[in-house]
Amino acid sequence: MAETHPAAPAGLPVRTGGGNRPRSTGWTGALPLLAFVALAFGIPTVALLGGAFTADGAPSTANLTASLQGAYLTALIGSVKLSAVVAIGGAVAGTFLAQAVVTSRFRALREAVLTASGVLANFGGVPLAFAWTATLGNSGVLTTRLALGEHGWSLYSFWGLALVYLYFSVPLMVLVVVPALDGLRPQWREAAQNNGASAWQFWRYVGIPVLTPSLLGGVVLLFGGAFAAYATAAAMVGTVVPLVTLQIADALTGNVLIGHENVALALSFDMIMVAGLVMAVYLPLQRRSARWLR
């Protein structure tokens, strides 16, 4: 509470230097998190930036320039395209699946799908690549049985990889969007019907707008997951599908050319920029769609 100083005009509050104001110590609880972020995120980021902007021991933008040319640029664009396809496809399929589960009368089905989604959303890397290769690869069980090769099927392509990425992205979307769908009150639908709205009008004016913040969050999550994925693609397609994560790995390990480690760091910087751009689009959209929540 402000005090009244004896020398001050009556009634005027005077600050006494703040020495008697209790200092908030609430932030100390966040110290472990801040320390972890500094270690796991801050130091690698500083090292990445330092390396990306250093060439031959001197500050330079040469690595960045190189990372935005030729095969590196193609890989970066390829990753963005693949991630966009997976994010949008996964969001649409995941939302429909989640809606089917949420509106199902069979509780066991809901629980089974949610449990499976929890497992499949975390199924990735070499085991996932092997599972798909064994099933739909060139000599996969289904490929040979259904003679898919004769119809031009190839798992080791952009769309093949997109399909494999959807395998873990759709369940992830289900996990993200089910709580939001559960939050849609049945009374809203009934109130809309009572006001003469069809099912489509309910979704257009109420359902989708209410879900939009969650859907946008899901799309960004799926985009990020696909954009950063490496092991599955590395095991499955190698260099057939150009992806930035594969290029980073090649540059770091000297798989094709040696001495390109700092270009790898510049590519990582490009990835951060892409993620930043995605967030720059996402945040205003999210803010706009959630303005009724404020």
Binding site: Q187, E190, A192, N194, N195, V210, W292
Partner: protein, 359 residues
């Protein structure tokens, strides 16, 4: 706005083994407010939802002005509804919520806004149009829901316990406002409630339901004063059960003979149903009862008496008459000479007090 006649004809609806409606027959006259009253699970909300089109009866029909609307989809019925839990669309502000039905019907924006403003004025929220539902109190949200339900000028207004989530003061104010609106618009209104006081105070007619069937329908005073069955007598208001003995068309109870109204059980030993306000109590040193408790209720006081034979009974009397009737005092009592209902003799039990429960 003209009200429509609503008829429930032999309505039956089951959910698995549970029978929610068991041949409900009821007619709601145009422009009246009827309260569907009953304990939890009696089917009152199901009946209302059958009118709204959210439930489809297994048998029977719902008629609106003589026209069978049982199979008409919910979005094509001429009925506005206010739900128990807040059901405003959270992403739309108050104006857009109220004008939702008009927007769906592609009414021009200017007309929609004018109509919404008119309705918000009607429900006493003219300055709240730009707010979102989460910025409103519960009472304000229900007012907006009421305005939304009236936006399309329906001929029937359905109220599904719209006041149950509100605090007592707001509840009383809003129910009076609903009544005022209903009377001024002349809209047929079906009001589901488990609160007997609410039902008795606002309705033209009260329909008491039990196990999916209609027990009694009538004016509030009629249902209260002349309950058709012991169930209605005990559900609506508070009722004493006093041991009595039938003698022809009269019953002997507490040393008095009272005329019997309604059906009588086969045995002469019966329970006589007596309202607390029909028990007249006077302080008397040689009285046949003793005051056990006295609870002050503002204008009145409720006494719990125990007679010398161990029977307990409740009595309501004006607060100024109860000054000398403190707990422990002896008192005399007599019953108002009026027809009473009787039921089969049950075990000696304390007076039955109707309890409110959600349907």
């Amino acid at each position: 706005m003209n009200g429509a006649r609503v008829e429930f004809r032999g309505l039956r609806r089951t959910f698995g083994a549970t029978v929610a409606l068991d041949g409900l027959d009821l007619t709601v006259e145009p422009g009246t407010l009827i309260a569907l009253l009953g304990p939890s699970g009696c089917g009152k909300t199901t009946a209302l939802r059958c009118v709204a089109g959210f439930e489809h009866p297994d048998a029977g029909a719902v008629l609106l002005d003589g026209k069978d609307i049982t199979r008409v989809p919910a979005n094509r019925r001429d009925a506005g509804m206010v739900f128990q839990s807040y059901s405003l669309f959270p992403n739309l502000n108050v104006y857009d919520n109220v004008a939702f039905g008009l927007r769906v019907r592609k009414v021009p924006a200017a007309k929609r806004r004018a109509r919404a403003a008119e309705l918000l004025e009607l429900v006493g929220l003219p300055a709240h149009g730009e707010r979102y539902p989460h910025q409103l109190s519960g009472g304000q949200q229900q007012r907006v829901a009421l305005a939304r339900a009236l936006a399309l000028e329906p001929r029937v207004l359905l109220l599904d316990e719209p006041l149950s989530a509100l605090d007592a003061k707001v509840r009383v104010a809003l129910r009076e406002e609903i009544r005022r609106l209903q009377l001024s618009l002349g809209i047929t209104t079906i009001f589901v409630t488990h609160d007997q006081e609410e039902a008795l105070s606002v309705a033209d007619q009260v329909a008491v339901l039990r196990s999916g069937r209609l027990e009694q329908v009538g004016a509030p005073a009629e249902v209260y004063d002349r309950p058709a069955t012991p169930f209605v007598a005990e559900f609506v208001g508070t009722m004493n059960r006093l041991p009595g003995r039938l003698d022809g068309q009269e019953v002997e109870v507490a040393g008095q003979r009272l005329p019997v109204h309604g059906e009588t059980p086969g045995t002469p030993e019966v329970d006589v149903l007596v309202r607390p306000e029909t028990v007249l109590v006077t302080a008397a040193y040689d009285g046949e009862a003793v005051v056990l408790t006295s609870s002050f209720r503002g204008a009145s006081v409720r006494l719990l008496l125990r007679t010398d034979d161990g029977t307990e009974l409740l009595a309501d009397l004006p607060a100024h008459d109860a000054a000398r009737l403190a707990p422990g005092q002896r008192a005399g009592f007599r019953l108002v000479q009026r027809p009473v209902l009787v039921g089969p003799r049950t075990t000696v039990s304390p007076p039955a007090t109707a309890t409110a429960a959600a349907d």
